[in-house]
């Protein structure tokens, strides 16, 4: 499973990083850093990743098959 991030839509609320710190991070300028952009999410991170997708308050993250 991959997760796409819509960087224009992201407002930096950081809820994704709270749910899945190994995948998402906000840098010093509060810009979203997606450590697995374009690559598969490691199996042990799937649950946290899905929690991040559904927690994003502006729906900037999407689960791709």
């Amino acid at each position: 499973m991959k997760i796409s991030a819509d960087y224009d839509r992201c407002e930096g609320h950081g809820l994704c990083a709270e749910q899945a710190p190994a995948i998402f991070e906000l840098d010093d300028d509060a810009e979203l850093v997606h450590h697995f952009d374009g690559s598969d999410i490691p199996p042990e991170q799937l649950a946290a990743a899905r929690a991040a997708v559904t927690a994003c308050p502006v729906a900037a993250l999407r689960e791709l098959p």
Partner: protein, 394 residues
């Protein structure tokens, strides 16, 4: 598929004066009846459960905001031009304008000031024996937001009343809404004057807007509605969250102790407060084309009522939903809405509420109830009207 006559019906009025003071028993009955419930008094399909609310908020092509999110046609017409009441490109453009000053990124610069103000507010409250928690809760939003928006000093004393009225008229056209109309119009008139006479504080969001209008990026006529976008939703809502936090920690001393022992729980505690006593009960959407929700047919032109407050107590989503517990993962609560129209001010609301909790945890040993709380009456906002408490210094 179920058609209207087969959809469960709930006859009591969930916007009666009694029901808006104590809505949760009604929501529980609605959730029990099903995922879609027809409210004949208000002629809307209520969505009391979590899954359907979230699905509708994510499908903003079918469930549109441009024809208004209120429960009455008058307000839906009057609120055109706001971010809340728009769709597609129009919405994206307005939101970008409103949101860029409100993102956590932009708010970072304010954090220190807000934390300092929160500390002063708590210190002042500690000098008195018993306080009204609602006044304590109002202080931070009232000192932060009008400056940020650039609202002139004059007229600030009306802001809370005007803001509450602007919400009241988003409900059905009941007595509560009708009473609020003069104050709702008062806010609009004042916003027009502020924009026309350029009374905004320099360097503020309002100032940005007027400059953008000067540069031809938007019409001057759009400015008043956009200023109301900043102001109306930012006071009562945050006040509600802070006052409910005070109330909940006063009545759940074990939870307060958890917070004292581990202030790292503060961000999630804010989510849990907003889940448990959602400041904004519900908004509606218009159904743009024939569709269905959970097997129920909804015709184009119908209205669906997204009950954020009920979704946040849905046992299909939450374990033990009627228990206030800051240790549960409450990040998925819908109290700020979700998706395209998800609250543009949630960064600021979180910043203010967290700052108050941080200041309280550092200075207060216990929060004790000092009399019965009273809830305020408003069609949209669920908040305390009076909250006698005693703050015991640490």
């Amino acid at each position: 598929m179920r058609r209207r006559h087969e959809v469960p019906v709930y006859r009591p009025d969930i916007y009666s004066p009694q029901a808006i003071l104590d809505p949760y028993p009604h929501y529980a009955k609605l959730r029990e009846l099903g995922p879609v419930v027809w409210l004949p008094r208000r002629k809307v399909y209520a969505l009391p459960r979590y899954a359907e609310c979230k699905a509708v908020l994510l499908d903003d092509k079918t469930f549109v905001s441009g024809d208004g999110v209120a429960l009455n046609p008058v307000t839906n017409r009057l609120s055109r031009g706001t971010t809340l009441n728009s769709d597609g490109e129009d919405h994206a453009a307005r939101r970008a304008r409103v949101a860029n000053r409100l993102t956590p990124r932009a708010l970072r610069a304010m954090t220190d000031v807000v934390e300092r103000q929160a500390a002063e507010i708590v210190d002042t409250a500690l000098e008195r024996c018993t306080v009204d928690g609602v006044e304590v809760a109002a202080a931070l939003p009232m000192s932060v937001v009008p400056d940020l928006v650039g609202w002139p000093e004059e007229g600030r004393e009306h802001l809370l009343r005007w803001g509450a009225a602007t919400f009241d008229v988003l409900g059905p056209l009941n007595g509560q809404a009708i009473q609020a109309i003069p104050d709702g119009l008062g806010m609009m008139r004042f916003a027009h004057t502020v924009a026309k006479r350029r009374k905004v504080l320099p360097g503020s969001m309002g100032d940005d807007l007027l400059r953008a209008a000067d540069a031809g990026e938007l019409a001057h006529a759009e400015c008043p509605a956009l200023m109301i976008d900043y102001l109306a939703p930012s006071l009562d809502t945050t006040l509600s969250a802070i006052a409910s936090a005070l109330h909940l920690f006063a009545t759940h001393p074990g939870q307060w102790q958890l917070l004292k022992d581990d202030p790292g729980l503060i961000p999630n505690a804010v989510n849990e407060v907003v889940r448990f006593e959602s400041p904004l009960r519900a908004f509606s959407r218009k159904v743009a084309r024939d569709t269905e929700i959970a097997g129920t047919a909804l015709p184009a032109g119908a209205r669906a009522l997204v009950l954020y407050a009920s979704a946040n107590r849905d046992a299909l989503k939450w374990d033990d939903p009627d228990t206030f517990d800051i240790r549960r993962n409450a990040a998925h609560q819908l109290g700020f809405g979700h998706g395209t129209h998800g609250c543009a001010g949630q960064g600021l609301a979180r910043l203010e509420t967290q700052a108050m909790l941080r200041a309280l945890v550092a200075r207060v040993d216990r929060i004790e109830p000092a009399g019965p709380p009273e809830w305020a009456r408003n069609n949209i906002i669920h908040r305390l009207g009076r909250l006698p408490i005693e703050l015991i210094p640490a």
